[in-house]
């Protein structure tokens, strides 16, 4: 919220105290804040419970890479790390919705419009 600066200040924030987004599990915790209005502690505990890990693991990119692969929650593709045979983007969001037991709007729209 309010980083607002288009010149990379987010870099300082993410390194100082950010969860790392998809590099770890920040995107999953963010979804609980958005869809269920959960405060941070509750959201971390909820996601950790669903993934079978500790809340601290959620900010650890090493722990989360393995968990994301196991559960098909999506990983980032870059240089020497590409996994075209694993879940990515929309496919990962289908899995995130199921694992976290939350509706994800674009997943619901996809199912509706694809007649699934």
């Amino acid at each position: 919220m309010g980083t607002g600066d288009p010149l990379g200040m987010e870099g300082a924030h993410t390194q100082a105290s950010g969860m790392g987004g998809m590099r770890a599990a920040g995107d999953l915790v963010a979804r609980m804040q958005m869809t269920r209005r959960m405060r941070l502690k509750e959201a971390k505990e909820y996601v950790a419970g669903k993934l079978g890990c500790t809340p601290r693991d959620l900010s650890d990119p090493i722990a989360m890479e393995q968990i994301r692969l196991e559960k098909g929650l999506g990983t980032l593709a870059f240089t020497s790390s590409v996994r075209p045979d694993e879940a990515g983007m929309m496919e990962a969001k289908f899995n995130i919705a199921r694992v976290l037991d939350i509706p994800i709007n674009c997943v619901e729209r996809f199912k509706e419009r694809a007649g699934l």
Binding site: P6, A16, R37, R56
Partner: protein, 344 residues
Amino acid sequence: MEPKIPTRMGDGSLVELTRSEIKADLEAGTQLAAKKAKVPELTQDELDHLLDIYASPARFTAVDIGDEVILSNDGTGTKHIGNRVQDLQSYEALLGVDMVELWQIDYSYKAIKTNVAHEGQTMKIAQTLLTNPVQYGAMPDLGRYSKPDGPIPNWSELLPLGKIDEARDAQVEACEMLVEDIDYVADAMVAAGTDGIDFDTTGAAGDADFLAGLTACRKLRQKYPWLGIEIGMAAEFVLGMHGQLEFDGERLAGMWPKDQLRMAQAAGASIYGPAVNINTGKSTAWNIARAITFIKPAMEIAEIPVHVNVGMGVGAVPTCVYPPADATSRASKAFVEILKIDGY
């Protein structure tokens, strides 16, 4: 002689202050905020903690492992690297933000209404290419509805003429139009697959602007129980440009963060973002103590996530186009460790 420590002013300039001078600035900042907002000053433990963070020559600082928070990212991207979706992808992959926001350069719901189909198409593309939550954001921006930009008589011109009733009527009329426009844009974005809607710098035009944000939020919450709705504020204090407007029977003018949060919660917001603007003539130590003092009472009653605005010129981050990482990381650590915020 007491050694000097490099630190920042609110405009970003590097200065050298002694530990005693930084301590004095922290005390002055909290005292001023407490007096203005009629809230308690920070405790001695909190001031000591802030002094440890700010009286350090370190180039960077950070929270402990495990204490990380969510970074929602209004205004994601530079607008000048690739296209807008590529901007979002780079922030997801390289910067590691937790949510990204699609937005257009004319950051106002009134402006977006005219090209909402194109914005929706870009949202749809973004949703296929990102895993992160993608929200859509803009300012409520009530002033756009007044002449010469809009159809409503300009209350800023009516007020100096003593036409108080006319100025109030104009704001109420503009507020109704704004709620309709936010609702229209939000419906289109929901159809395109958005994960959330952001009302950025709510209250910028005063209490009628805040009322529009709250009213639109409640309307959207009734339609979309799952939708992420962020209400980020423009300032620490709601200006009474109208002065008599109420939400759920409570007067909005003059509200500080604690009451702003209560209203956002009642309206159904998912995330509330307090904003405390920076004083560029004071040190960042003075500014952080002032900002935390204003926001602390809100944190004590919060039932929804609170994402403090810590961008350029707010939340003790200097007003300059390249905010230094030493100042940004100190603000980040201070808010997380003193206030236990849910994100920023």
